[in-house]
């Protein structure tokens, strides 16, 4: 709640709707990595706006997940500059290694693979976003070690 109040305090009196995007990020982080309709209704009540105003926004932006996702999201960029730097091979490789296609989540709920459009790391391609950070200059070996790292972290936190 202190974080919520901090975010709302950035905007003028009566313009608390402006905090909607940052607050949805906060809600997504706090409620399991996705936005259920209950979560969105809760955000609407906090910001004193209509639920539909939240749905309209949440469905517009690509970073809000409206369905549950894996603990680790691999969001691999597939736009032009990454394509000419070989992202297709990386996407294939991740898919084969995890046994899923883009858009799917592994049965153990650990990994989701998603293809996304340019993330502003074109010079460091191929690359992907994982949580709050970027993983750049991807190679097959690097992908292997990232997957291993995630599995270890997940095991350690259980």
């Amino acid at each position: 709640m202190t974080e919520f109040n901090r975010l709302v305090s950035h905007y003028p009196e009566g313009k608390q709707k402006s905090a909607l995007l940052p607050v949805l990020h906060l809600a997504q982080n706090s409620f399991g990595g996705w936005l259920s309709s209950d979560t969105m209704d809760y955000v609407a009540s906090l910001l004193q706006i209509k639920p539909i105003e939240v749905y309209e926004v949440a469905t517009f932006y690509s970073m809000y997940n409206l369905k549950p996702v894996g603990k680790y999201m691999f969001e691999v960029c597939q736009t032009g500059p990454c394509m000419i730097s070989g992202c297709d091979d990386i996407i294939d490789y991740i898919g084969k290694t995890l046994g899923i296609k883009p858009g799917e989540t592994t049965a153990d709920g650990l990994f989701t693979l998603k293809t996304v459009e340019c993330l502003g790391a074109c010079g460091y391609a191929p690359m992907m976003q994982m949580g709050k950070t970027y993983r750049e200059h991807l190679t097959k070996e690097k992908v292997d070690s990232i997957i291993a790292e995630c599995r270890n972290n997940a095991a350690a936190n259980n």
Binding site: L21, V57, F60, M63, M83, E117, C118, G120, G123, A125
Partner: protein, 462 residues
């Protein structure tokens, strides 16, 4: 050092933005301050009137670095100043145009340079609450910026009564959530208000009615950072760097098939050839291959084949600046745009590349107006067919007709941005499209290659 065409040995280009980027700890206030940081802010707030700052920026000839190249000083002088209505400066850090990653570099490595630029600009425009709208994916940069803001505040450069001048200013970071369209300034304003990123129908312009219906100026990260050297050295001195109306320095983010992808500061006097092949910059094409094509200013500007990239249609070396890159118009030239420099080597497929860009624009269309909402998806589907060997000859003309009917007929320039790459690819690489159609099977196994795209173009001189 690079031997330039004229035979003169060139010294390293002028650097005024990234000159300190490699100083250890420059991210933090103390080091930045020790290296001369915030002196421009002191000068501006203590010694200069707001009008004088706007005047210096006008004299500098600084043009918007976000893509459109609109003169920054002029934009500032348009802001309405109605009694009792707050005004706002908004920094556009949405940076989502494929090929562009220069603002990220500035914010990650030199956050205080941006904060200082924002402070001076906020003072000049009378903005007490200034916002940085940053793309949602740059999540870790939000922390860097917020830390820098806290440091600046703790040292009296933000907050109340800054430097005892009576000027109050706060800077807030507003994180987007994945939408290229929010780089368009009115979509950005809508998004800042907590809405869908639908561009507004203009007029009214943001300078009159922007965020919360208040007068607003939106400027790119690099534009606002450049205000710092302008105030430090004076507008006239700044204008001496570069050539013609391309004054100052420009950040170029270079990517694709080059030896040294990265962010470079250029003074806009060098040629494209030098930029690609010199060791100071891209270091040549990777793996010893040959240059085929290049998109020199972010994915929406026209792609050029190697021959037209290095030389203009008149046969002169093409320069890396606003005028140089647009020489020849869309027929034989391109644009400096946002400075996203995408290089394609001889083994790249223009059709596939165009398809991924069309997919990008379809994905990013807000969907408000019919030509863009429907046309982008249509182009993507046709390009996919051609790319996968299912195209028809008539598809190429159809693509041309679709892009023609999108361009200029939409609410915001995203429609144009989607149309131009398709138009330019067909204009310059029609053979390659036709080859794909005529050789559906072979095109799935190998690429068209360099063909004649690097052959010198001879233009008869009258």
């Amino acid at each position: 050092m690079f031997q330039s065409r004229t035979g003169k040995l060139k010294v390293m280009g002028v650097k005024i933005l990234l000159d300190k980027a490699h100083v250890e700890g420059i991210r933090y206030f103390d080091v930045y301050r020790r290296e001369g940081g915030y002196q421009a802010a002191e000068k501006a707030l203590k010694e200069m009137s707001t009008d004088a700052i706007v005047e210096e920026v006008k004299k500098s000839g600084l043009r918007g670095r976000g893509g459109a190249g609109f003169p920054a000083g002029m934009k500032w002088s348009f802001i309405a100043k109605p009694e009792g209505v707050p005004r706002h400066l908004v920094c556009n850090a949405d940076e989502s145009e494929p090929g562009t990653f220069k603002d990220r570099y500035l914010m990650e490595f030199l956050p205080h340079l941006l904060i200082e630029g924002l402070l001076i600009s906020s003072y000049a425009l009378g903005s007490h609450d200034t916002y940085i709208y940053i793309r949602g994916e740059y999540a870790w940069i939000v922390d860097i910026l917020e830390q820098a803001i806290e440091e600046a505040k703790a040292n009296g450069f933000l907050g109340k009564n800054i430097l005892g001048t009576g000027f109050d200013c706060n800077i807030y970071v507003h994180r987007g959530a994945g939408a290229y369209i929010c780089g368009e300034e009115t979509a950005l304003i809508e998004s800042l208000e907590g809405k869908r990123g639908n561009p507004r129908i203009k007029p009214p312009f943001p300078a009159i009615q922007g965020v919360w219906q208040r007068p607003t100026v939106v400027n790119n990260v690099e534009t606002l950072a450049a205000v710092v050297p302008i105030i430090r050295m004076g507008g006239d001195e700044y204008a001496k760097i570069g050539v013609g109306r391309s004054t100052g320095t420009k950040l170029i983010s270079a990517c694709g098939n080059i030896n040294k992808p990265g962010v470079y500061e250029i003074d806009m006097t060098i040629s494209v050839e030098e930029f690609i092949y010199s060791d100071e910059y891209c270091g040549g094409i990777a793996n010893g291959k040959r240059l085929k094509a290049c998109i020199p200013g972010g994915s929406s500007v026209p792609i050029l084949p190697a021959n037209l990239l290095l030389r203009t249609a008149k046969g002169e070396p093409r320069l890396m600046n606003y005028e140089g890159l647009s020489d020849g118009g869309f027929a034989t030239g391109s644009m400096l745009g946002s400075g996203g420099f995408i290089v394609l080597d001889e083994d790249q497929c223009i059709v596939k590349n165009t398809y991924t860009l069309a997919r990008f624009y379809r994905h990013e269309s807000c969907g408000q107006c019919s030509p863009c909402r429907e046309g982008t998806g249509w182009m993507e589907k046709i390009l996919k067919n051609i790319d996968t060997g299912n195209g028809k000859m008539s598809d190429i003309d159809l693509l041309w007709d679709i892009q023609r009917k999108i361009e200029g007929n939409t609410i915001c320039p995203l429609g144009d941005a989607a149309a131009w790459p398709v138009a330019a690819a067909i204009r310059h690489f029609r053979d390659e499209f036709e080859w794909h159609v005529l050789n559906p099977e072979e095109s799935q196994k190998r690429n068209y290659g360099l063909a004649h795209y690097a052959d010198p173009i001879y233009v008869a001189t009258p």
